[in-house]
Amino acid sequence: MPENASKTIVIDPVTRIEGHAKITLHLNDEGGVDDAHFHVTQFRGFEKFCEGRPFSEMPSLMARICGICPVSHLIASAKACDALLAVRIPPTAEKLRRVFGLAQVVQSHALSFFHLSSPDLLLGMDADPAKSNLFGVFEQKPELARDGIRLRQFGQQIIERLGGKRIHPAWVVPGGVSEPLSELDRDAILAGVSEALKITERTLEWFKSITENFREEIASFGTFATLFLGIVKKDGGLTFYDGAIRIVSAAGDVVANGLEPADYQQYIGEKVERWSYLKSPYYMPTGYPDGIYRVGPLARLNVADRCGTPRADQELAEFHELQRTAVLSSFHYHHPRLIEMLYCVERLEQLLNDPEILSKHVRAIARPNAPEGVGCCEAPRGTLIHHYKIDEQGLMRWANLIIATGHNSMAMNRSILQVAKHFVRGGCMTTGMLNRVEAVIRAYDPCLSCTTHAWGEMPLVVQLLNPSGEILDEVRRSC
């Protein structure tokens, strides 16, 4: 072996995730795993190419960061623009944006759970890759696949009714929303609530009944101490739209509370890894790498005191019985994802039953009044921050974006190392071993189109790389 070279397993592309990535596992002489890297291979440059454009274009432009959670980008962007206008938006506009955001969490979580991860959960981690997909789930348990399609459709149809189209609607604007909600559309959405609740509840029951089969995965899928970060309401309750940032430790203790999202640069640092287009944010007071934290469903339910809706709160109490401290295994991301869907359906029903939701006053009109604005919300995958600076004409001068999946960068890397060390051992590489390495990534539900993409004609290859990543030699391996 040439000097400074090491054997590397490359999983490329990582499949059934929302984006393009590859994983490299660096092997030692005994065939065990020494190090593991999750490489995000796409970068687009929104922070720069928005320059010179009117700030009012930002919600629609920034929504194009991601086709899975465009609504979160619309909301964070519009909130940053609200700050530039220095207006308080009409209460009905805020409620409508909340409903919009909740509907999106339902469709996005449904995609993650049913379309992408349920094949691993139903068919097992060692299943035939040709069957490990939604169509394979349909053959084995058609009601599960249908439930997934139906629940995602429920969320997407709400987005369509409110915003005019399912993907990249232009309805959220600086100062509010562009059109009020009609009584007809409200009633049509409410008519679907009961079925959505039933689907979510039976999926939760099914999930809880199978977790016993995944003890080894629960113990090794990113089971380690980190901080957890998320927005909570003033009373400590779960929220997706507005609140202050709270950070809790692995022990479950509050480390920081009431942090203003607008001050994020004071406590969130961003580190570059030269082997990925995804930056690694960390909690600055603890420094790098100890400032590792997780965001998203698992983090939100670790930081929030309650959900605030009856059925979701019952499920939350049961979830906390899993562990007396914060719940630490990233395998458990699936469980809070289901609880959050329950919350979202319950909560959007409450909001839609508020008579004020039909008010026609949904937009505050103003000219830009502040040179700088920060918008923050909880996207399906975690805390999302948009930060803009404009000139006197309202043209964009600068932007910084911290995307939900980005916060989990360090944790995802540490998780694949843990899984790989546990499951990938010398000798024969099996599909099941490598699928588990991918499955832990699916648990995080990373949205890589958001963050910054891969490709492989070489599914299972051992490559000999030098330290700068140059391929010196490669051998195909199969079993």
């Binding site: 190419f49 640092g269 492989g456």
Partner: protein
């Protein structure tokens, strides 16, 4: 009749076109009776198969990897469909072209950074100086504009191709739809 071999590919885009594909909802199940999804971010195949009947390609060509990928896809695919505005025009991804790769990378990896500023250059694919639509790189058989094209439009395109007809999109979609 044997099932057609369908692939969906995602180059430099936002996945919105793939989400619109999923927005066919229950029609996905009916589609699976007529077509095998042999390669897609939604299934686990890691290797682009030797012969694919129809490939729906989302996104523009933005990296050396995209370039390599689309050439391979063209070689192994009968009907290549440019799906969505990014594939058809390069759209949003090409907004970086006037600024250049250095300027967009400097903003993200040198300016907006707290620790270890520097442009990622290991393992990750090199960004092309200019982002291009697919037909500038390889011949394309069907163009489907839209940001994204609606699920109904995608369903129409696939149904026509399944019947062996060239889809006449007429008023069904438009740029930015």
């Amino acid at each position: 009749m044997s099932k057609i071999r369908l692939a969906t590919v995602w180059l430099d885009g936002c996945s919105g076109c793939h989400m619109s594909f999923l927005d066919m909802d229950e029609a996905l199940i009916t589609l699976s009776e007529k077509a095998n999804l042999v390669y897609s971010p939604l299934v686990d195949a890691k290797v682009y198969p030797d012969s694919v009947d129809v490939a729906l390609v989302e996104g523009a060509v933005a990296t050396e990897q995209d370039l390599h990928k689309i050439q391979l896809i063209r070689k192994h695919t009968k009907t290549l469909v440019s799906l969505g505005d990014c594939a058809v025009t390069a759209n949003v991804p090409s907004m970086r072209n006037p600024f250049g790769v250095k300027a967009v990378c400097d903003r993200a990896y040198r300016e907006n950074v707290t620790l270890d500023a520097g442009i990622p250059d290991q393992v990750v694919p090199k960004l092309l100086e200019r982002v291009r639509p697919i037909h500038e790189v390889v011949p394309v058989d069907v163009f489907v504009p839209g940001c994204p094209p609606s699920a109904d439009t995608i369903h129409f395109v696939l149904s026509e191709l399944l019947e062996g007809r060239q889809p006449d999109l007429g008023s069904k979609t438009r740029f930015g739809a």
